[in-house]
Amino acid sequence: MSPKACKNCGSSDVDVDQARGDAVCMGCGSVLEDNIIVSEVEFVESGGGGSLAVGQFVSSEGNKNPVFGEGHHGIGSESRAQTLQRAKQHINTLGRQLQMNQHCLDTAYNFYRMALGKHLTRGRKALHVVAACLYLVCRTEGTPHMLLDFSDVLQVNVYVLGRTFLVLSRELCINASAIDPCLYIPRFAQKLEFGDKNHEVSMTALRLVQRMKRDWMHTGRRPSGLCGAALLVAARMHDFCRTTKEIIKVVKVCESTLRKRLTEFQDTPSGQLTIEEFMRQDLDQECDPPCYTTGLKNKKYQQLEIELEKKMEDFEEEIHCYEDEIDAELQNCRPKLKGVYAAYTKETATEVPEEVGGDAISTPSKMAAATDEEQEEEDELEAVAKHFGKQMSELTLEALIKLEQKTPGEEEEEEEGGSPKRKGPTLESILGRMPTASTLGLPESISKCIGEEKENDGAADSGELDLSGIDDKEIELYLLDDGEVKVKTALWMAENSDYLKQLKEKEAKIAKEKELGIYKERKPRGPSKKHPPIRANTADEAIEKMLEQKKISSKINYDVLKDLNVKPGSSPARQPDTPKREASAVKLTGRNRSSPRAPLSLSTPLSTLGKRLQPFITGLPKKKMAMEQAAAHNPLPVPVGNPDIGVVVESGPVVYDDAAEEEEDEEEETCVSAMELLGSNDYGSDADYDEGF
């Protein structure tokens, strides 16, 4: 850009000469700009007197390696170009299979490029992303392709594809319009082969679908299901007998879905019309959605249930009154309890009258709320049972509840030996209890637990565990005692014998390998190894050491680099993974993203170098970035790079280093050509290209 005003004298009379390429101020004569870059088309004379424009046509797709000469393929084409090429192939294959036109395929390719730029392809199968791009196009264009079609072709779960599709549409901010079932009608109609009447049947089906939409049958449902139902009805209306099986094959829904849609449609008022009436008129009234009507039904049933329950409660009250009387009788006739229990009976005599008056229904809840260590005498139960002449198992729930009523009185007594039993919070759980804790005799358990509890309280507790509101005794319920542990151990070993066998085999293998000295510590995905910083006296040594440590890129001829008697500002090779930074972790590729990890020499930190060097040092990765990927992350490496570089260039006049680095830069930027120049022939091309590099 030619400057408008001179910096020295302020005059705005500046002469820009394109031929010489400089800008000179007319007032004071100072040269303002030198070597202006000119962008004009130049012509060259060709044989025969014509003139040709100098230059080449470059594809708008921005191939990273412009084809020159005869146009070899794949001369060190960079990975990005390869990825795009592959994607294009996939898109075309898939698109052809689904009969999509070229315009759609091109759009899909553009979507893929956008996705690649935003790194959405990372961690996803390429085919999934390709399918998602194609489906995105289908939705925006409105073609009648379903996600199911794609999943059929690829043999992939449709929900997996759906997930990819949703992520893609969200990240690319492409708002696909909602699926209209009307779109699918022509496609399905064609498959059903209605012959000449195809158009009429389609129109009827369309009207039916619209009717369904008005009647709120289509929200939350698969559009293909609605289409299937509509087509079935339309076919029948026009005297085609298409069976449900045929429809299902075309529409790809289940038979029960189809049937359900049909019944729902039947329930709508339009479903009641005859064929002629339907064709003629369009009912104004709209229906409620079918789920709403079922909701109403459910509400009604619930109300009925509540009423029934109330009645049940009334009856239960009566029954319990009778039970009370029976129980009073029981008391008198019960056999005397001996030993320890004698003490209990005295207490129950006082406590029972209080309890008896209460509502029987509330007692189970009361007991659940009460402490869990209630005691229950099995003797008592058996005695009761005998009295009634029944067996234990036949005791009714109510009778047990009755018995429990006495036990709240005995709750306070817990410290005894005897045979206290643990009880779960509710009676129902007793009856359907798990085998582990319930019926084994547990004479020592409570005393042991109590003993432990005292120990634990005394022991040095975790500084932070707040015990308020925690009932320790309840917690103890969750622990088994020694006998139980043994039983459980045996059971568990038996169950998991396969797994244990595998474990043993693995260990045996490892032991053997260790003996033989072959054993490799194969840690499952440990963190990436970080090399210790290389300490070297000169840059050459540093480079050598680093190169010994790692062979980083295949595109650089390391031997040549070693010969260079130059102190590069940053590591010549492409950088491997550096320790991840928080924000950039996700976005950094395995390659070269972050700071030049240049442990070349620790002699001088970067800051002591002249300012002139810094742009070169940090500028290098920037350039590489721009080359490789869409430049969304340029700002990232720079701040990342700077603090990390603790090492760099040292002795030698700055000027030379600059120049040297410039060479270095050029070499690496166009590493492809450097390789060519230096004779390495990884790619089998021997031509020597000197143009412009």
Binding site: G162, C287, D288, L465, D466, E476, L479
Partner: protein, 192 residues
């Protein structure tokens, strides 16, 4: 009008997920063999322990990290977590209860009207997304609250968020949007 309706809306919390750490290594086999209500999955490397009082299922890893699910309120989750820690203490591990954090809260709510999902999605692109082929509900994600709301056409909502406050705010936020797209109810039809 909206605020009065909010008062009437019942937001029922169905699940609260919380994590905490015991700051000590746990021997899973010991826990598996000496605890009741435990399921040991050695292939995965964790123990599932179920508590009854606050109905909670906890996944316990040997590193000492524990995830509790199934609670019905944040306080419940905390009580359950502490119970669990106490239980592990009893088993003999030097447990320290630290870094308790409620990670996810799931709640359901029901609107008194049906919702037209297509309109709702159209009005709220791209925050809302609706794929009838994949899922019958429309998903509405509120980024700054980190909450996700799934809207069904019957009017029920499922809300997930990092804590109960966010969930309530999310429902309040989305209510007016839903109200716009509601389906005016007709007279009751005969239930067949």
């Amino acid at each position: 009008m909206d605020s009065s309706n909010d008062d009437a809306l019942d937001i029922i919390i169905t699940n609260v997920v919380a994590t905490f750490r015991t700051r000590c290594h746990l021997n899973l086999r010991t826990i598996a063999l000496e605890g009741t209500n435990v399921i040991y999955k050695p292939e995965v490397g964790k123990v599932l322990m179920k508590l009854r009082k606050p109905k909670i299922t906890a996944s316990i890893w040997s590193s000492g990290k524990i995830i509790c699910t199934g609670a019905t309120s944040e306080d419940d989750a905390k009580v359950g977590a502490r119970r669990l820690a106490r239980c592990l203490q009893k088993l003999g591990f030097k447990v320290r209860f630290s870094a308790f954090k409620v990670v996810n809260v799931l709640a359901v709510c029901s609107m008194p009207f049906s919702i037209h999902l297509v309109d709702f999605t159209k009005n709220n692109r791209p925050i809302a997304s609706y794929e009838p082929e994949l899922h019958p509900a429309a998903t509405y994600r509120i980024k700054h609250l980190k909450a996700t709301i799934q809207v069904f056409s019957t009017g029920s909502l499922t809300v997930t968020g990092p804590n109960v406050q966010n969930v309530a705010t999310a429902v309040e936020q989305v209510y007016p949007l839903l109200f716009e797209c509601r389906k005016p109810l007709r007279e009751k039809r005969k239930v067949n």
